[in-house]
């Protein structure tokens, strides 16, 4: 890990051979310099006390090739490229600027929205686009700064007097991003073939097999002297299928394969096997009993545990949540205190590109504020050490650790990259299962639960709502203490409060695994990974899932309904 960080640091100092900067970066620098010169002249002429002290341009070049098929037929084919410009303007100074929270204003997110700019490297057209967007952004920033100052005088003193923007060293790095050369037409033929498998399954109501390849190159320049051109290629094959139980409950299964190169995507045999598994699971789920509310021991299998940590723990580690007056701040005052069992450590390391042989979605070298990503230990032996930081400082953390992330058009906030949960109290999985049965016996419970797959969850970190969470498991089995075979169940949600839940983790298995996904929050959707071992929890609370009202279809699937084929006279 250290090696990675060193490489990045070297690159930032420009000591690595670099690609020549392209037209986009050159135009961005030119217009940035011209703008700053004009603004500084005007500001000194007008004796402006609140100057533009930071200006940043990001141009994101996004090229998507994707297709989706269902029931053997193509649903969609997309080839699209766009270049999106974000202009970031800060008025005032690092201590207080236009980005400052306006208390009582619950407006969403922030960020001025991205502008589409020319796809072609035409310097005049690009520069004209930058100019128009800058004019609007500077005017909007000045206007907002007036509101910030007014708000500050009328409200009580803030709990965290940290500055609005950290001081960072400029970064310089350019790298080549692999071309997006996914053979879409070959994939379309495969998607048609693979998705046709569901035609033989009248119980599967919805099913989609899709492929998505996105190449993203980000160009970044700032008035601090940063100059970056970085990018990635992200590929994903996604399977989804759903059915309805007789009582109307929607049941669904998903599977995704993520990679950084087309060669690492799964072959037909792997996808076909995943489809067979999904079909088998959906059929079993349709017949599975609905569970009653329950409190007792449970295992979260590795990938489910990874999602659990991402949702319930990771989001509460995001720096800006420790500062906002709207936030519940579960962990803000717990630095240096135990927050997890002492055998657990948690870190976030975007510099990791792979885990074992699995490509990691949450890998990046520089964040969206141009700061080099860093491996950061959040919890060491159960004790809270740090937070994920963007350039919005909080008490005791004046600097970014390269976790400021966003989707084009929104303002960056601290987000997770690759969240890694490490344990030194590990047992083989079989033993963890034996421990689950033992725990049932001790607690006098006839059974415990094993959560195989979690689709995601909801967690409220904000102050005006209770600090609770709910996660939506998709595949859950009941494990009996008397040796009866395991039983698949449906209709379960896990609920709880974060601190209490973490305290109940009693052991982990030796089987860390990766969950690759896309995480949505106030700064948009960003690719993330979470890596965790299976965990045994001494007590988990589950409640009955809310059920949809509509019954299954009244008529049988037309594909199996002999009475309705054409020519039958109906």
């Amino acid at each position: 890990m250290l090696t990675c960080c060193l490489l990045v640091a070297l690159a930032a100092r420009g000591e690595e051979p670099e690609r020549p900067a392209g037209v986009v970066l050159a135009v961005m620098q030119k217009e940035l310099a011209r703008t700053l010169q004009h603004l500084h002249e005007q500001e000194s002429e007008q004796k402006e006390t609140d100057p533009v002290y930071f200006l940043g341009y990001a141009v994101t070049d996004r090229e998507v090739r994707s297709a989706a098929a269902s029931m053997g037929a193509l649903l969609d084919r997309t080839v699209n490229r766009q270049r999106l410009l974000d202009v970031s303007v800060r008025v005032g100074d690092h201590q207080l600027d236009n980005s400052h929270e306006i208390r009582g204003d619950r407006g969403f997110g922030g960020g001025g929205g991205a502008t589409n700019v020319p796809l072609e490297d035409d310097p005049d057209a690009l520069q004209a686009s930058l100019w128009a967007a800058t004019d609007e952004a500077v005017k909007a920033a000045r206007e907002r700064f007036v509101k910030v100052k007014t708000n500050k005088t009328v409200k009580v003193e803030e709990e965290d007097p940290s500055p609005d923007f950290s001081v960072e060293e400029p970064s310089a790095h350019t790298e080549a991003t692999p071309a997006n050369d996914l053979d879409l037409d070959a994939w379309i033929a495969r998607l048609r073939r693979l998705s046709a498998r569901f035609k033989g399954e009248p119980d599967v109501l919805g099913s989609v097999v899709s492929v998505n390849a996105e190449r993203r190159v980000t160009h970044f320049v700032s008035s601090e002297g940063s100059r970056l051109e970085t990018g990635y290629l992200a590929l994903r094959v996604m399977l989804s299928a759903s059915t309805k139980a007789d009582d109307g409950m929607e049941l669904s299964r998903y599977e995704a394969f993520d990679s950084h190169s087309p060669g690492k995507l799964p072959d037909d045999a792997v996808i076909a096997a995943a489809i067979e598994k999904m079909i088998g699971e959906l059929k079993a789920l349709k017949k599975a009993p609905v569970v009653e509310p329950y409190t007792g021991p449970a295992i979260l299998n590795n990938r489910a545990s990874a999602v659990f940590f991402h949702e319930i723990f990771g989001h509460r580690m995001e720096g800006h949540r420790q500062k906002s007056s709207e936030e519940g701040q579960t962990f803000t005052k717990k630095l240096g205190e135990p927050v997890l069992p002492e055998f657990l450590s948690v870190l976030d390391d975007p510099t990791l590109a792979v885990f074992g042989t699995t490509d990691l979605n949450g890998h990046y070298l520089f964040d969206d504020e141009g700061v080099a990503s860093q491996r950061i230990t959040l919890v060491q032996d159960g004790v809270l050490k740090s937070f994920l930081m963007s350039r919005s400082p909080i008490a005791r953390f004046p600097s970014s650790n390269g976790h400021g992330r966003r989707e084009p058009g929104l303002s960056a906030v601290a987000r997770q990259g690759n969240l890694v949960v490490e344990s030194h109290k590990v047992v083989p999985y079989a033993e963890l299962r034996a421990m689950l049965i033992e725990a049932c016996k001790q607690q006098g419970k006839p059974y415990g639960f094993v959560f195989e797959d979690i689709s995601g969850g909801f967690t409220t970190t904000q102050r005006f709502s209770p600090q609770s969470f709910k996660v939506i498991p998709l595949y859950v089995t009941r494990v009996y203490q008397d040796g009866r075979p395991d039983e698949l169940v449906r209709g379960v949600d896990i609920v709880g409060t974060p601190l209490a839940s973490f305290a109940k983790i009693v052991a982990t298995a030796d089987d860390p695994a990766v969950f690759n996904g896309y995480c949505g929050a106030e700064s948009g959707s960003v690719p993330v990974s979470a890596i965790a071992p299976s965990i045994l929890v001494s007590e988990i609370e589950i409640e009955k899932k809310q059920k949809e009202q509509d019954r299954p279809p009244l008529l049988p699937s037309p594909l199996g309904d002999k009475a309705s084929k054409p020519g039958s006279g109906s």
């Binding site: 029931m71 037929a73 589409n116 004019d135 005017k139 699937s557 037309p558 109906s570």
Partner: protein
């Protein structure tokens, strides 16, 4: 009785065979699933469907957009989706035509379909879609029955009427476009604005849609109506020296690629647009004005679109849970005024969707069959100044029991309602345009006004004028031409807007010319939800209108000079 009107089917070449294959697969999947639904959809002992109408829209779209000489985006897409009308109960009282029952409302919606001509995949999607709509129809009729019981007086027209089945199947439309050539075209046209230092921002867009409207219903109707639209559009933006935002656009909307303007003609149009806004940016701001106004060119047609066409559309008043909603739904509609004066005696209005062209110019409001499978009729809307009809879909009103073939998807596919086809306005006592101008000046002299006003173009997106109900308002004029009484010279002014107006203004028309200004436009724009229409109107003089100094935004001029135009300075 089955009325076969057109059946186009070319055999012998591969394209025609493919087209026939597409039609076969789509029609059989639609018909088989619809028939099965009609015969067998029934939940417990509840109502069964008495009618199903099923629409599939298959659309090829393409567009490319450039700014200042460089392409910003190019998108091509093929999409297919279904919409359906599932009716339970009976024609006199069914699950439709009412507002109430909470937020759920009627779930019509759309469902995406496979873009392959795959019978199984299409049927599978249609099966689930009709199942969902049938269940929703049952919910809706039970809520509607409960609401109807609370109404003491309930003499309503039926919810639906019979229509003759028709079969009109044409060859599907295809979009054969060389996107590379299109890109080169918009790149060049958008570079024209490099000649105009006052134009701060600009863009040129070329879009097209080839859409195939498939429709079947359980009465035996079968329709494939292919339509192709292409639009070349440019917009420009400038700021006047006082900071007022000004924008203008120009558009060529055609049905065939070969009807797009030539490179030279298009370039000339770009230049004219650049010159016009540059000139306008330097024109003075309008002062408040009250007096006669002459509407000509597209502004004349837009005037009748807003004040007349929209107010004789969607005439049905649904059963309301909350009767206080009447005002909001009816707004300023004229539909209660059948037989009463709405225009001066000398103005006639007729809607005729059967006319394909006017003076060789295609009319966009021409269609062989409407979106409910009804062949359009010529509808007299205003006769000798009196309202004689309005646009009817298959939902009757107390005045008209049947559709007149104007049932069309409106509001971006929100619903089918009576809507404009091609509305023709004319005067029984027309005068020349010059005489009309004299009328304007005479009216000004009568009012002791130094000048009168001529409006050629109103703002708003010409190609996608959509009617959203509520209060009518005329879009702001772009160029205001002041014409002076003493010598007839003209001066430009900018930044005016019309105050609140009502359809009563129609009666204030003093005179109309013998010209025919054609507005071709598309509700929903050049998209798969396109519903095109035409308004053909003479230039007119309105006796008195308020034009107020616009309260529109004024902003500081750009902080920094434009990087291209500032170069070398």
């Amino acid at each position: 009785m089955k009325l076969v009107i057109i059946l186009v089917g070319l055999a012998g070449n591969a394209a025609a065979a493919r087209a026939a294959d597409q039609n076969d697969v789509i029609f059989s999947a639609m018909k088989d699933e619809m028939d099965r639904g009609l015969q067998r959809l029934q939940m417990e002992k509840l109502d069964r469907p008495y009618f199903i109408g099923l629409t599939v829209r298959d659309a090829d779209t393409a567009s490319t957009y450039a700014q200042f000489g460089a392409v910003v985006s190019t998108v091509a897409d093929h999409a297919r989706f279904a919409m359906a009308d599932v009716r339970v109960g009976e024609a006199t009282f069914d699950n439709t035509n009412f507002l109430g029952g909470g937020f759920g409302g009627a779930r019509s919606g759309r469902v995406g379909l496979s873009i392959d001509n795959d019978y199984d995949a299409l049927r599978h999607s249609l099966w689930l879609f009709l199942d969902r709509l049938y269940k929703n129809a049952l919910e809706r009729i039970s809520v509607k029955r409960a609401i109807a019981k609370t109404k003491t007086h309930l003499a309503r027209a039926p919810d639906f009427t019979r229509a003759e089945p028709v079969e009109i199947v044409e060859e599907p439309a295809r979009l054969g476009i060389d996107l590379g050539a299109w890109e080169e075209r918009v790149r060049q046209l958008s570079a024209v604005f490099r000649e105009f230092p006052l134009i701060e921002q600009s863009g040129v867009d070329l879009s097209a849609v080839a859409l195939n409207h498939y429709y079947v219903n359980t009465e035996g109707t079968r329709v494939l109506r292919p339509e192709t639209y292409l639009e070349l559009k440019a917009w420009v933006y400038a700021q006047a020296s006082d900071g007022m935002h000004l924008s203008d656009s120009t558009s060529f909307l055609v049905k065939r690629a070969e009807d797009l303007p030539t490179a030279a003609a298009a370039e000339q149009a770009m230049r004219a647009l650049g010159e016009r806004l540059s000139k306008l940016a330097q024109a003075p701001e309008i002062e408040d004005y009250t007096g006669p106004v002459l509407f000509t060119s597209s502004a004349a047609a837009q005037f009748f679109k807003v004040l007349l066409a929209d107010n004789v559309s969607d005439p049905v008043l649904p059963l309301l849970e909350n009767d206080a909603m009447v005002e909001r739904i009816r707004g300023q509609k004229l539909v209660t005024k059948i037989g009463r004066r709405v225009l001066p005696l000398f103005i006639e209005a007729v809607d005729d969707p059967t006319r394909a062209t006017l003076n060789d110019k295609p009319l966009f409001g021409c269609y062989p069959v409407d979106d409910e499978g009804v062949v359009p009729k010529i509808v007299p809307i205003v006769t000798k100044g009196r309202l004689s009809g309005y646009y009817m879909s298959r939902t009757p009103t107390d005045k008209f029991p049947a559709s007149n073939g104007h049932g069309r998807w409106v509001g971006y596919g929100a619903k089918v309602a009576g809507a404009t086809g091609s509305l023709f306005l004319s005067s029984t006592t027309p005068e020349s345009y010059d005489a009309l101008k004299d009328e304007l000046l005479d009216a000004c002299r009568d009012d002791d006004l130094e000048f009168g006003i001529i409006i050629d173009e109103l703002g708003g997106d010409e190609s996608s004028l959509a009617s959203f109900g509520g209060d009518a308002s005329l879009p702001d004029p772009i160029v205001i031409r002041k014409i002076f009484t003493k010598d007839g010279h003209e001066e430009w002014a900018r930044g005016g807007s019309f105050g609140k107006i009502t359809p009563k203004l129609l009666k204030e028309i003093l005179a109309a010319a013998d010209d025919a200004n054609v507005l071709n436009a598309i509700d929903g724009g050049v998209t798969p939800l396109a519903t095109p229409f035409s308004i053909v109107a003479p230039s007119i003089v309105v006796k008195e209108l308020d034009i107020k100094k616009s309260e529109g935004e004024k902003d500081k001029p750009p902080l920094i000079p434009h990087p291209f135009f500032a170069r070398g300075k």
